[in-house]
Amino acid sequence: MTSVSETPTITTRNAVEEFLFHEAGLIDEWRLEEWLDLFTLDCTYEVPATDRPDADPGLTWSLIHDGRTMLEQRVIRLKKPEAHAEFPHSQTIRIVGNVRILTQNNESISVTANFIINRAKAGKFDTYVGRYDYDLTPHGSSFLIRRKRAVLAHDMLDPQGKISFII
């Protein structure tokens, strides 16, 4: 067991929270291009299937498994009026909490957090809950996201029906 002094701390929970809260704000404000800028070029954005939360979302019938190209397409689409499920935009507000740094080194910081998101649109009011797993990489005085994974704590998307916004 290495002692604390042998493992230099790259960052603090405060700094990570600041970043995650900033990310959450961008998404809830629908500033999606700025949100995209938080990701590395080799990033992945993943949401596993509700019945296979621990499986590789690239090898199972998951909900989202975007690389950089598809993530950009997702954002491009959501800006168009023809993205019918999100036009007009739904209102979302999310709480990101229980933030913990699991491991950290010069290249990578792995973070876990919980989320609770409320989405309101046209009389529908839905809640989405789950856990975020992030692989962050230090970038200047902040971070970039190499991997963002949202693991839903849902049996199924009922009553939500869809995830048409950015989770």
Binding site: V47, P48, A49, T50, D51, R52, A55, P57, G58, L59, T60, W61, S62, L63, I64, H65, G67, T69, M70, Q73, R74, I76, R77, K80, E82, A83, H84, A85, E86, K124, D155, M156, L157, D158, P159, Q160, G161, K162, I163, S164, I167
Partner: protein, 437 residues
Amino acid sequence: MTAEQFIIDDRENSLFRVNREAFTSEDVLQRERKEIFDKTWLYVGHESEIPGKNDFQTRDVGGRPVIFNRDRHGDVRVLLNTCLHRGSSVCRHSSGNAKIFTCFYHGWAYRNSGELVNVPGNEDYKSEPAAVYKGLQSPAQVDSYRGLYFVNFDPDAPDLLTYLGDARYFIDLAADQSPEGVAILEGTHKYSLKANWKLLVENSIDGYHAKSVHHTYFEMMMELGATPPMLGKETVNGVAPAGMGTEFPNGHATLMYPANGLPLATDSVKQTLAGLRSQAEQSFGENYANAMFGLARNSVFFPSLILIDLSFGLTLRTFHPVSPSETLVTGWQIIPKGVDEEFVRYRINNALTFWGPAGLATPDDVEALEQAQKGFGARGEVGWSDVSKGMGKPVPAANDELQMRSWWREWNRRITGQQLPTEGTSFVPFDKQAADA
């Protein structure tokens, strides 16, 4: 009180209308439960979901909780998941492997072939429960076609093969894609829809909505250098670029059109697909292989099994009404067996760009259907939906609505008893005699 006439099938003026009460009436739903879901073949699951002895899946089929499993001999069973004692579920896991199902309420235990084998306090019964009740019951009929398992709660319903008729070829065109067969991937899409189940039937076999609802998907495809659906230039096996809709007896229907290129496919992926195609040509001949790999197909098997077989993926979908305005949908992805991991990853990535509740297309469909359901609030004044597109054409295109009319005429026959004549002939996009040989 509901209107007695649900369909206006006006051949003289080529107008087909559906009474919007069909989408909102509680009475209609009760009739659908009795005349459709209690009497037709309902999809349960695929053999690949229970590959080994004692494997099981639990799910709801036609409103009944069932266990879909293999017994200790490897035989596939469908058991009604309700204890013969007081009704509690005897299996509460969604999937797993078990030789015995023990009800947690009073401990009654059943073999996975159904037999009641243990009753705590059996000595307190003058008539032994095992002798009286025998075992977990099954639906009246259980059968399979090409690995797809179905049940029918009506013991007098015609057998599955008769029921499917020529529509079965569209299952063949999926199941034959690899000499090793096909398999369901792990991971399920399960989501609710705040709209009537029949709207999703229509949407699943609707070509007309693609350009408008999936506008952003079409734009994305073109940006990535691929040809969007139905906008190609070639004719394949007699199916023109605009595609065609076709109808089958018993309410099944298909739309098909020449398949388009694969967006973002690596050489390895193209090679794998070419390999599957050449194997199919060797086994079945070029004509059949062309139908299989050269055509995209959306099929409905009455009442609510959808098989969408496109170049970028193969999805199976089934759904069931919770209420007139709410539906629960389950979606799976099918993969030809024997392909490498790169191919599976490619297919998933591609298929997810479109399908599923977090895809870039399905949510827009859900939005359209939910908006339609909202609009039915005005059905007192605007009482009918139009499903007339392509009526009177000798060869209705993929974005016409023949396939919906086929389904609605069967729905109407079951709900009202009224028999409406078919519009045209069924079309199977390959030489059946050669294929059956």
